[in-house]
């Protein structure tokens, strides 16, 4: 009985979605008037190269126009890592030896990982430093860095992420993000407000505080994701409580 109700619900939902999105034509221009913006899309497309001198308008939105969302999002990730730690891994209580599981252990892979690791880190750093110019940015770069650490974590049993350093980096990056926001609040009267000297479009140093904030986001996201992976990899399979 419950099964059929659920099927009915899913069918109704699918039908509703289909009907609704038929009224929203695919590929139509919904940005509004670009010269005198009446919708936010047009406004962002206009202001991002003009006022902010930021080539990647998505970066401009994520870091500046809607930077508060991003602060919240970084917090969500931080809280997820905290929650994960509280649910799974309690050093003080479990008295576990800090031994990780390794998924792969062929020597070829290990050598490969050792070579790839710095390259992946460099790629990640490149991605978030150029976040305001090319596609990519803090989240992407952070995720790439975490992938690099992941590679090391699953191939080397004794690879240590230097937990202390990670905690410091993560906290300081988060604090620096908030502090940059507060700089805007105290200098210009609005939280996260960008500086007025924004450079010129498509220079590496352009967009005012945007690249700086994106670097903080990159470090924060990278360390948080690595932290999450580290916690998950430290679970002992088969341990029962």
């Amino acid at each position: 009985m419950k099964r059929y109700i659920i099927f009915l619900f899913i069918a109704v939902l699918g039908w509703t979605l289909a009907q609704t999105f038929r009224a929203i034509p695919f590929g139509a221009d919904r940005r509004g008037n670009l010269d005198q913006p009446d919708r936010v899309a047009a406004f962002y497309l206009k202001e991002s190269p003009e006022t902010l001198q930021t080539a990647n308008s998505i970066t401009a939105i994520v870091v500046n126009f809607r930077g508060f969302d991003t602060l919240g999002e970084v917090t969500v990730l931080f809280l997820a890592a905290t929650g994960l730690a509280s649910i799974l891994y309690r050093k003080e209580e479990d008295d576990e030896t800090e031994e990780r599981i390794t998924l792969i252990s062929s020597s070829l892979v290990r050598t490969g990982a050792k070579i790839l690791f710095p390259l992946i880190l460099l790629l990640g750093i490149y991605v978030f430093i150029h976040g305001h110019l090319t596609p990519g940015g803090g989240f992407q770069g952070g995720a790439i860095i975490a992938t690099g650490f992941l590679l090391m974590l699953i191939t080397y049993k004794r690879f240590d992420t230097n937990h202390n350093l990670m905690v410091w980096l993560e906290s300081l990056a988060g604090l620096a993000f908030v502090a940059t926001g507060l700089y805007g609040l105290f200098t210009y009267g609005s939280f996260l407000q960008n500086t007025h000297s924004v450079g010129t479009l498509n220079d590496l140093i352009s967009g005012g505080l945007i690249p700086l904030i994106y670097i903080f986001i990159g470090i924060k996201v990278g360390t948080e994701l690595t932290n999450i992976l580290d916690i998950l990899l430290k679970i002992k399979p088969g341990k029962q409580s």
Binding site: T20, R30, V167, G189
Partner: protein, 493 residues
């Protein structure tokens, strides 16, 4: 330094990011710092409240982009009132739980404190933001912290309750995202004031779909029937200060989000009737379920859902007096229900028994706590001269103004149900025989202060409701005056 609404969010965030570092330097940082931050929030909420009542509204712009282009934080008398209420409750719950953390070992305190503090900060964020997507982000912050805290005790039921909550919560966020997407395609903006302004142009099909999605999503957050399956388990399994926070903070934020979206964004007829019906069903089902509960915290949880149902009914009636009653009830619910959870958890702590039998004869062991519990129980049923009486009274008056006879009968009926199960618990405390045990756990001083403060509040408001009615009146007026809200935010372009 000028105090502005953004401090509500920034102070807890700074603390949350700094606690892992600070606790390396000072061992007790994780326990002390959140208290300082939450107390700071209490202070700024009084300063800001004063300012709001003078100016009518504070509209703080983030990143220097005026609304509707950027994200803005709005403090009206309505949101300011709720934010102040949550801040005060947050601080009191912290004070109550200060000793509780002693029983936790080492590093776990840090996790608990960060999550608890951010749950309160996130709820304030939901309330003060003026941007739809930003509200989604804050709802996610509250959600993530709430799931983790529900599963905080690492027993089997905790994890299960947490998983259940997470499942419904993620479905809620899916529907919320879909609704936001629909609204965005039609209005081209995410600012709530501008959406409200442009809503009449939206075609009715999409409007209804978006409304239904919002109702599903926020119905889950606001514990509305039949989407509240997560609530009793989460209330039961969470640590006691967290249960109190769920009642006093999270449910308030959920109801706020629902009301803000229905009242400000949409102009669809029939929403009020829907709220009345759903609120009534929620209330009735929850209160009937509460009677049959054998577990104290579950009983309180169902009672909590019932109160939320009554709040929704009052919002549904929609007249200024009813909204006034609804806000008053939200305040009372936050204060009284958290007092019930606080005292109730001491009973559980002392008897080691989660079931109602654990209450037997508690007045001998914990006379003061028992008195507080009974006081709160009487207050929530609505006995004069406690504060709970006034909120119910105003809602009944508002319903009778609208000639809603069935509603009045229904509310009175539910009150009788409440009477049954609360009196039953109080009766157990005072008249049932217990198998004697040694006095084990006296409440600590900080918990006593927190609980006494709440009890004092209940009595004082009960005798002199005028202290608070002025504020609530302005808050209700601010919620209902939609055009003023829109003009104030968009006019400051």
């Amino acid at each position: 330094m000028v105090i502005s609404p953004v401090h509500y969010i920034v102070a807890p965030l700074l603390a949350a990011f700094a606690i892992p570092l600070l606790s390396k330097i000072y061992k007790d940082a994780a326990r002390v710092v959140p208290g300082i931050v939450l107390f700071y929030n209490v202070i700024i909420s009084f300063v800001l409240m004063k300012q709001v009542l003078k100016q009518g509204m504070i509209n703080e712009v983030i990143a220097g982009w005026q609304p509707p282009w950027g994200i803005n934080l709005v403090l009206t008398p309505f949101t300011g009132f709720l934010a102040a209420m949550i801040s005060v409750m947050g601080f009191i719950i912290w004070l109550y739980g200060f000793r509780f953390k002693r029983t936790l070992k080492g590093g776990v305190v840090k996790y608990y404190e960060i999550l608890q503090m951010m749950m309160i900060a996130g709820s304030i964020g939901v309330i003060i933001t003026g941007d739809l997507f930003n509200m989604f982000v804050f709802i996610e912050i509250v959600g993530i912290t709430a799931y983790s805290l529900t599963a905080f005790y690492r027993d089997r039921n905790g994890a299960e309750a947490g998983f259940k909550y997470l499942l419904l919560g993620s479905l809620a966020s899916t529907f919320l995202l879909l609704a936001i997407l629909l609204i965005y395609t039609q209005t081209g903006t995410l600012n709530m004031a501008q959406i409200a302004e442009r809503m009449p142009e939206v075609s009715s099909g999409i409007k209804i779909t978006a409304l239904v999605f919002f109702l599903i999503a926020l119905g889950i957050e606001a514990e509305m029937f039949p989407l509240n399956g997560w609530a009793p388990d989460a209330y039961e399994q969470a640590p006691s200060p967290t249960s109190a926070t769920f009642a006093a903070v999270v449910s308030i934020a959920g109801v706020y989000a629902l009301v803000r979206i229905l009242f400000t964004l949409f102009d669809v007829a029939g929403v009020h009737q829907y709220l009345i019906v759903m609120g009534f069903v929620t209330m009735l089902v929850a209160e009937i379920a509460a009677v049959s509960q054998k577990n104290l915290k579950r009983m309180l949880a169902y009672s909590s859902i019932g109160q939320v149902g009554l709040v929704l009914i009052a919002f549904g009636v929609g007249s200024p007096l009813a909204v006034f009653g609804a806000l008053f009830l939200m305040l009372n619910h936050a204060v009284i229900k958290s007092l019930l959870f606080m005292t109730g958890s001491y009973f559980i702590y002392n008897s080691g028994e989660k079931r109602l039998e654990g209450l037997n004869g508690m007045h001998k062991r914990l006379p003061y706590v028992s008195a507080l519990f009974s006081l709160a129980a009487f207050a929530i049923i609505g006995f004069p001269p406690f504060s709970g009486f006034w909120s119910k009274f105003y809602i009944l008056i508002a319903a009778s103004d609208q000639k809603m006879i069935f509603l009045i009968i229904g509310i009175l009926l539910v009150t009788i149900i409440e009477l049954v199960y609360y009196l039953r618990s109080v009766g157990r405390i005072y008249f049932a025989k217990e198998e004697m045990q040694d006095i084990a756990h006296k409440p600590s001083v900080n918990a006593l202060i927190a609980m006494s403060f709440l009890a004092l509040f209940i009595i004082i408001i009960g005798i002199y409701p005028d202290i608070i009615t002025g504020y609530i009146n302005q808050a209700a007026a601010a919620l209902l005056d939609k055009t003023h809200y829109v003009q104030q935010i968009l006019g400051s372009k």
